[in-house]
Symmetry: none
Subunit: 215 residues, 4 copies
DNA sequence: TATGAATGAGATTTCATTCAT
DNA sequence: GATGAATGAAATCTCATTCAT
């Protein structure tokens, strides 16, 4: 049934074999961050990825699966980061924390890094399973790692006798707030330089407090 | 639609029409938090509020207007809080901050208080106008108030010469993280008692740092 | 299409290309019966046939073509059956009908036999052309053949003076109902033995009626 | 935000309160019979019913629910018919059967009557639950009722000693075949008159058989 | 005021079909 | 000959919103 002269160049099907799920996930991340999970349309994700809507479903069985894929993909780098943190802990607690926060601050301006946690936080109540995965794979690794650094610092006499578990919030909380304030409300300087300046102040306050006198 | 002159009861069967918008907002807040803005159905909000879907539209012209109403309703308490903060600033910076954080910690376990900021954060990119309102009315009052407390503490010699603007993140960030960790991932103790314990450690670390020696 | 002289094995790994269309039709029949024409997915048909979806289109230009193929394939056996019926008509009408119904009853438990008519009945209104083909090639051969047997029986004085055309429904209808009741609603005994028992009763009633006295 | 002059006559919403589910079911029956369940589009059903697609979903939660509704609606008339059959059984078996078949033949030309069974038969394998409902509510009432008539006829000496269970197929089968042949393949006369002629021949053959002599 | 009824516009998902290899 | 990759076109179902009462 081939009609006369089926023009050779009909490029209806463009890519092949390499339009990897990764590109789809990148597109999904972009749109989920910009629009939120519900408001993001699969068609737009496909458009960003340069493929058709149906092709998205070739790689991911549903829209939620994109979210899952995002979480799963975000797990390994973070796990590696946590491992590194622990491996590096040969010097003082101060050095360890400074190192970790330095790592974080060098990465955190990349939406691919902070985007997934941000989405998870927003969609957690609707998709508890996802939150669970994220918590199991990321939170439950990061938190103990940091706490362990603090505990060892206390044990070695380097740090005061604070509650390690709760103090983790003082280490990480300000950073989250800095990023959130900047990305959501445009408050503060979210550039790499601004982030570095913030980190210096953060580390200073964290280790020395804001009071002039020790108690 | 009770007939004319229902002398006796009427209270049970008719709610005061004045209270309706507030009940609708409560319902909206509940559902926006549980489902997210997009996924929350107006019909369900109405059901929670005990009225019909069409009646919601009697009070609010659109679904987004519910979000606006939520933001606007959350403004006044926070504004009052900020005002109080400034009024109370007669003692030391430490006392002022301790007072403010005490206020916050006493309120923050109420979903009606932290729910709105949480929703705003999640929906900010989709509704920049809302974020703007929130920023204008809340952020831009809270932040300067806190910064001013820090600045005056520095000026009086009570506090070290930290960057007041950035240090605000060290004051508020850990609290946000504590609440977020607890409500989203179930990490930590979100009860009033747990919050108080956290606050004590937070204030301790904030004012004294975690290092044993001053620099 | 086996390559030249594949002396050794090839049987296991390559199916004879000639048999393919038939296997595809078998798979299509299976799925059309189980799911109906619309609900049956070409991909599943391919999977049952052990080939890829695209390969189905190598043999059949469209999904409807599978239906056509099914009808066409079902025609010849039935035609042969009809021919046999006529050829055998040397004895009495009773013997002829008994013979034919015996043939039918020996075959009818095979889904490949009654499956196609069943599908055609269900999809007839959507694909009148198919129904036409089936009617032209099958119905219009079977019915006259049976009617002719009856007519000759009447002419020879063996049978009463019934309406041959309408009486065909009394000959075939009960059988259809028996099969349908069994396969669809699980009513009755659809085994070969059960079918034989039914046939005996059917022939008895058909030839003798149910009344005790002749009119 | 009301624009100037909102023309009073905008009839976007036409009917009210009386666009009953019944009309939707009628439309569904029409289309299911013409197109089959899968191929029938809800939008077209709505169009036939004179309402919008969404309104269909106001009354029926899903497309399958339309099928269920159809079965359920068809149940009561048939049940009543069965009851009547039994109530009427005061005369002879012949009279009872003649009466019942007369009733059936007077109704069977209405698509609303024979349509539902036809659809059920076609979709039974895909929706076993529906088949179950139909079997429980219809088949399991009709069959015993007929069988009981035959049994009593045998007991009273009016009928020969046939197998009542199996003979039911001889009573009902020819009728189904007549209707099916006419509606699907256009074979035979499906008019009321044609049906009556057929019934006469059917009853004659049924009660007297086709052989000239009794065995 | 309050609401039942209705719908337009759109979202996700499916699938027959096709091209390049 | 065989198939993995890709897609256009549709179908079901949802929901914010509105009108008549």
């Amino acid at each position: 049934m081939t009609k006369a002269a089926p023009t050779k160049d009909s490029r209806k099907f463009r890519r092949r074999a390499d339009a990897r799920p990764d590109e789809v996930l990148d597109a999904a991340l972009t749109l989920f961050m910009r629009e939120g999970f519900e408001a993001a349309r699969v068609e737009d994700i496909a458009k960003i990825a340069g493929i058709s809507k149906a092709t998205v479903y070739l790689y991911f069985p549903s829209k939620v699966a994109l979210l899952e894929g995002l979480v799963r993909r975000a797990i390994s780098p973070v796990a590696i980061l946590a491992e590194n943190m622990l491996d590096q802990f040969e010097g003082t607690a101060k050095e360890a924390i400074t190192l970790v926060l330095g790592l974080v601050s060098s990465r955190i301006s990349d939406p691919k890094i902070y985007g997934v946690p941000a989405i998870i936080m927003c969609e957690a109540s609707r998709f508890p399973d996802l939150a669970k995965i994220y918590q199991d794979e990321v939170i439950s690794h990061m938190l103990p790692a940091l706490r362990s650094v603090v505990d060892r610092g206390i044990a070695s006499g380097e740090l005061r006798n604070v509650d390690a578990e709760l103090t983790v919030r003082n280490i990480a909380g300000p950073i989250f707030m800095h990023v959130a304030a900047a990305s959501i409300f445009g408050v503060g300087d979210n550039s790499a330089a601004g982030l570095r300046t913030f980190m210096e102040n953060h580390l200073d306050v964290l280790f020395n407090g804001i009071s002039k006198e020790k108690p």
